[in-house]
Amino acid sequence: MRKSILRRSGQTPDIPTASTADVAFLLILFFMVTTVFRATALNLSIRLPEAKSTQRILIRHLTAYIWADATGRIYIDDNLVPIEMVNPKISQKIWGKPDLLTILNIDQNLSYGTIDRLLDQLKQARAYRITFATRFKGER
């Protein structure tokens, strides 16, 4: 039956590929918009603490990152920063952006004394919105 229809119409079946490029460019646009090139200090070995109440941070823009390893070294934008320089550095970032969220990636073994000094610097910089970066309990 099918054969006879094809023979009758005299056409060869083909898949339309005209919109392939459109589909592909749509996918490119998606990936271009969602891509975030890794901009973190990769050579740091930081083990984040575990917490059951860990929440996902949905805000991507308006965030500043502070990294602190177990020895108390603090990094902002891949640069080693003395703790007393956190205030001027964050003040620069928060200028004109009062809703800036500061994400603190701190090693779980760092002593609280250093963290308290860090929080004091953030208060001086008026960066009141902070997030203690944690892992979900049981996550590697």
Binding site: T17, T20, A21, A24, F25, L27, I28, F31, M32, T34, T35, V36, F37, R38, P49, E50, A51, K52, S53, T54, Q55, R56, I57, R60, T63, I103, L104, I106, D107, Q108, N109, L110, S111, Y112, G113, I115, D116, L119, L122, K123, Q124, R126, A127, Y128, R129, I130, T131, F132, A133, T134, R135, F136
Partner: protein, 156 residues
């Protein structure tokens, strides 16, 4: 200008490889994409205030949790004084929930951490406080929103 007998041809750009190029770019973006997955515990730091602006809280509304350098804690409130080891942090949630039922949104939880205590202990306690939530008589869900992080001042 056309020569005599020359055929007029339309100029065209070949688009056959357009899809190939596009898919090549897709592969590049797919392999280089890192979906950021920031996650953690949100906090709002208090503003730096003058001494006159400090608000006095009724002692009955305060739960004070003190963390020592080895991670052991002391939970103290008007009618409670309990010592817990670092393996018993789960009990903090129960204590806070009981206090929430009693004090509702007036409850203030003060976490006092020793400067020598590891950060994970403070986060462990903060985690328990954040997990605590109760449904009160009128159907509202209440959680401990007023949390203060205070370091223990070292003795001179």
């Amino acid at each position: 200008m056309l020569w005599k007998g020359q055929e007029k041809t339309k100029p065209n750009i070949p688009t056959a490889s357009m899809g190939d190029i596009a898919f090549l770019i897709i592969i590049f973006f797919m392999t280089s994409t890192v979906f950021t997955r920031d996650k953690g515990i949100k906090m709002l730091l208090p503003e730096k205030t003058d001494l006159e602006a400090i608000v006095k809280v009724v002692p009955e509304n305060i739960v004070m949790i003190t963390i020592n350098p080895s991670g052991e804690i002391n939970v103290k409130s008007s009618n409670l004084d309990r010592y817990l080891t670092s393996q018993q942090y789960d009990l903090v949630r129960e204590i806070i929930e009981a206090k929430l039922r009693e004090r509702d949104t007036l409850l203030v939880v003060s976490v006092r951490t020793s400067p020598d205590a590891p950060y994970r202990c403070m986060i462990g306690i903060l985690d328990q406080i954040k997990l605590a939530r109760v449904r009160v008589a009128d159907g509202r869900e209440v959680e401990a929103n007023k949390i203060s992080l205070i370091p223990i001042q070292e003795q001179p």
